[in-house]
């Protein structure tokens, strides 16, 4: 009886660690995406904001989730290095006008053509930790150690993806993912973390949606 209560409580606790994720997709028109398996897409992180950086780990996670789409995926760093210094935080085009001007340079255009890149996806966003509460303290000594207390914090991931088409320098769509959840740390001699995979959920949802975006509708 005691065992079942313990198991039910644990399951309830773990169940409470799920993230709430929503995803929105917007396309400026109803035109069908031209997708060719010979062409590629590159997912790039925006890094020009002062107080955060769209982290590379998230970009590579989303790129990884897009495997299996009907288009190739070029790794971010490979593309940025091949076209250095035109996609650095200081120089990366923020709008389609600037991109059009950049692609008029034959040296830059040839680098893009060599890699057969058709679409650029700009990812902008971050994961934040808010509403931290509770306290936990740990002590270690020659006789042993342990942690006591309870702590909780909320995490939220908000990322927006903007898809640019390099064939006609137009915007093909926008996707936005919002994910939030609360994590707990229980100190009962050993610290027991009950972590909500907010960022992982955001990556997985956005990656799946982008994969659908770049797949031929059957």
């Amino acid at each position: 009886m005691k065992k079942s209560i313990l198991l039910i409580s644990m399951a309830a606790l773990l169940g409470g660690c799920g993230a709430t994720t929503s995803i929105d997709e917007y396309r400026p028109n109803n035109s069908v995406m031209e997708i060719n398996s010979d062409e590629s897409v590159v997912i790039l992180g925006r890094r020009d904001a002062g107080h955060y950086d769209t982290d590379r780990e998230f970009i590579s996670c989303v790129s990884g989730k897009m495997k299996g789409a009907d288009i190739g995926v070029v790794p971010e760093q490979q593309f940025i290095d091949s076209i250095y210094p035109w996609f650095e935080p200081r120089t990366a085009p923020k709008g389609l006008k600037r991109l059009t001007r950049l692609m008029q340079d034959p040296d830059i255009k040839s680098q893009v053509d060599i890699q057969r890149i058709r679409y650029l996806v700009w990812l902008d966003g971050s994961t934040k930790t808010d509403n931290q509460g509770g306290s936990i303290s740990c002590a270690i000594g020659p006789g042993g150690g342990g942690c006591f207390g309870f702590a909780q914090w909320e995490k939220s991931s908000i990322y927006e993806a903007i898809v640019w088409d390099l064939s006609d320098f137009s915007e093909k769509g926008r996707l936005r993912v919002d994910s939030a959840g609360t994590s707990y740390l229980i100190g009962a001699v050993a610290p027991i973390p009950l972590l909500t995979p907010v960022k992982k959920d955001a990556c997985s949802s956005l990656g799946k949606q982008l994969k659908k975006f770049f797949s031929v509708q059957k």
């Binding site: 890094r47 107080h51 955060y52 950086d53 982290d55 780990e57 290095d81 091949s82 076209i83 250095y84 210094p85 035109w86 650095e88 935080p89 200081r90 120089t91 040296d107 830059i108 680098q111 971050s126 270690i140 000594g141 020659p142």
Partner: protein, 204 residues
């Protein structure tokens, strides 16, 4: 006897754990940088990389050192090669062999680092402040151009302070290359020098 040994081991482990949390960082930046995509102009230049610049070790705080000498030499060599079609790299002024060229000596003015504990932002930041002493072949100064570069990297849970500062420094060095390529020919005194040299060339 047995208990004393256990106490000693436990105390040593606790000591290692505490020293592992110290905030000092000795960073050695050694990376390869990509070649630049840029069409160099028909201008000759001699770049002076002296030993101080090539072996530069920044000390932004008493607990942090960043050895950027070889990385910045490599990065700026790459960037300068994208600016001038005729270029030589020398160690001192007396080794300059070009007759009608710009003579550029880059210098590091200052390196600054800020960590999440300084700013309460979740990023590590590095600023490298360069100055380029630009002269003509005769030794007349054309300009002393201030060139700041900036790099930041997110603070990751598993990223050590050393790795984070190295990552931010690499981004700052790449930013220096980007700024140089983007802004060098926009410096008014360089633009005027180019116009004057072209006029002289046309007259001769």
């Amino acid at each position: 006897m047995q208990i004393t040994k256990i106490h000693l081991i436990a105390s040593l482990l606790a000591l290692f754990a505490i020293t592992g949390c110290s905030s000092s960082a000795q960073v050695q930046v050694e990376r390869n940088f990509p070649t630049v995509v840029s069409k160099p102009k028909a201008v000759s230049a001699s770049i002076i990389f002296n030993d101080e610049f090539k072996n530069y070790v920044a000390t932004p705080s008493k607990n942090t050192t960043i050895a950027i000498g070889s990385a910045q030499t490599l990065m700026l060599s790459n960037a300068f090669a994208g600016l001038f079609n005729k270029i030589e790299f020398v160690q001192s002024r007396d080794q300059v062999s070009f007759e009608n060229a710009l003579v550029i000596t880059p210098l590091v003015q200052e390196v600054q680092v800020s960590t999440p504990s300084d700013t309460y932002l979740n990023v590590y930041e590095v600023w490298i402040k360069y100055s380029l002493d630009i002269q003509n072949a005769k030794g007349d100064q054309i300009d002393n151009w201030f060139m700041p570069a900036y790099g930041k990297t997110p603070d990751s849970f598993m990223l050590s302070k050393t790795n984070a500062i190295e990552e931010a420094t690499v981004i700052a060095l790449r930013d220096a290359g980007a700024k140089l390529l983007l802004d060098f020919y926009r410096i008014p005194s360089i633009y005027n020098w180019l116009v004057r040299e072209r006029k002289l060339g046309d007259e001769q």
